[in-house]
Amino acid sequence: MNKDLYNYILGVADNSLILGQRMGELCGHGPSLETDIACTNISLDLFGQVRSYFQYAADVSGDERTEDDIAFLRREREYKNVLLVEQPNTDFAYTIVRQFLFDVYHVLFLEELKKSSDETLQAIAVKSVKEAKYHERFSSDWVIRLGDGTEESHQKIQDAVDVLWTYTDELFHQTDSDIEMVKAGVAVDVTQLKESYYKKVNEILNEATIQIPESKWFQKGGKQGIHTEHLGYLLSDMQYMQRTYPGMEW
């Protein structure tokens, strides 16, 4: 199999997988029925994307593995999502800021992936970018409303931005497989998205009257499978059924 392509697909898809899982946790516990519906919808869209990516990855692997094997049967160190998306739902501010910081990236990323020389990825990108734009509107809108809302909501958004900011830089890191796939015209060169990303993020945060963190210290490791301690617990729930009842159909 084309190992770099396989790794590349997983790197992309794991972000949607883990963020989808986080959003799925909130179902029935959101601050209002409308946000509950929207968060569930985001989770649903992300898992839909995950299925497309992993079905493709399963094809690429050339062996017997299925989308579910890829989703559920890897070990802690084999998930390659960025640290940002695994951060917990501390409160709705963390949830929405995490979503926002990912969505802005996701739209830029998918717009580029539409130009991939790989037709399957191209097709997934075309479908996904519409969803991602909707997510971005939703999350930006809430960041603005709450950032420029009450004093309390402002402070909570500011706190979440301050903490989650340190995870944004990693979005623009590349693994060896990424670099190979960029050369092949398959992958998006994420290093090129950085400027547009921070420009867009800063615009929205400005409108939300949120101060842009000045810290130059960033966290990394997710793309190498070195995660925060939050991921392990997420995985133990996510994998529970597949691990406990191996090899069955559902």
Partner: protein, 315 residues
């Protein structure tokens, strides 16, 4: 309003009901009609919202991506149903906050079935198959109920619920045809959810109140016992089809009646749960109250922002 005017409004209202003309929010209606509808519609809305919790409990642990997506979609539909139904209820002149307050303080009820825990994945099948199955039997007649907004909401709700019911049945079928562990899991879920589902139709007719009035307003078309019998008659062949056994030793086909006979229902359990002492009553209301209270700053923030924007636009 004079006595004569009132009489005439009442007569016009009664005629509409008799002629199967829908009552609409702007129409005059008797206070009792309004109150009864608020009670029933909100109870229905609350049931959708609380009903998200037992199924939401398995979203993070769904066994495959396909099932996870389907479960998310189902729970999202339930939130949507809650939304239409609260809106329908609001047309009767009560705010969503008041309705939620009634739920949170225990003044309003919701379907007792959601006070049972979802213990295994198979419960996702059993709930879809049995609980949605029972709900549909209760709800289909409401598509023709007299109050317009409720009737219209029910058209959509019923359509989606019969999809959910099939999906639940398919989960059960897959398990029943799967490994011995899976089959055991399916049978166990049926064992646990059967009687609570049977109880969803409420007390026996002898103990049921409001029935006559509700019949007239088409909030009800058949009695609790008739609906229960319909559910049992419909469900037994489905269980047989997938090789599962309903946990009722007294169950058998009665050729003469043309219906299944079934064993006695444990009404003590029913009342324990209705009165708030079921296995999850505290957790369910607790989760809703936590979500609401924890979300106060979010709702306040959004309102404050909207007010700022409005001010800017005016200026």
């Amino acid at each position: 309003m004079s006595e004569a005017e009132l009489k005439s409004l009442e007569a016009a209202f009664e005629k509409k009901i008799a002629d199967d003309v829908r009552i609409e929010p702007k129409d005059w209606m008797p206070e009792k009609y309004r109150k009864t509808h608020i009670r029933q519609i909100s109870q229905h809305a609350h049931s959708e919202i609380v009903g998200m919790l037992p199924e939401g409990n398995w979203i993070t642990r769904a066994p495959s991506l396909r099932r996870k997506v389907a479960l998310l979609a189902k729970v999202q539909d339930e939130a949507g149903h809650g939304l239409y139904l609260y809106s329908a209820c609001e047309t009767l002149g009560i705010s969503r906050d008041e309705l939620l307050d009634q739920l949170h303080t225990g003044k309003a009820k919701y379907s007792s079935i959601f006070n049972y825990p979802t213990v295994t994945w198979a419960d996702m099948g059993a709930i879809g198959w049995l609980v949605d199955g029972a709900a549909i039997i209760n709800q289909v007649p409401l598509m023709n109920t007299s109050y317009g907004p409720y009737a219209r909401a029910m058209v959509r709700v019923c359509k989606e619920e019969s999809f959910h019911q099939r999906q639940g049945f398919e989960i059960m079928m897959k398990l029943a045809q799967g490994s011995p562990e899976q089959k055991e899991m399916a049978q166990d879920a049926l064992n646990r959810w059967w009687w609570p589902s049977i109880m969803m139709f409420g007390p026996t007719d002898a103990e049921s109140t409001h029935t006559e009035q509700s019949m007239k307003w088409k909030l009800k078309r058949k009695t609790n016992d008739e609906l229960r019998q319909q559910f049992i008659d419909q469900t037994i062949p489905q269980a047989e089809l997938i090789g599962l056994t309903v946990p009722d030793p007294d169950l058998k086909w009665n050729e003469e009646r043309g219906h299944y006979d079934f064993g006695p229902i444990d009404w003590d359990e029913f009342w324990q749960v209705v009165k708030g002492h079921g296995p999850c009553n505290k957790e369910r209301i607790g989760a809703r109250v936590n979500a609401y209270e924890g979300g106060k700053w979010v709702r306040d923030g959004a309102m404050a922002h909207a007010a700022k924007k409005e001010k800017q636009e005016v200026a």
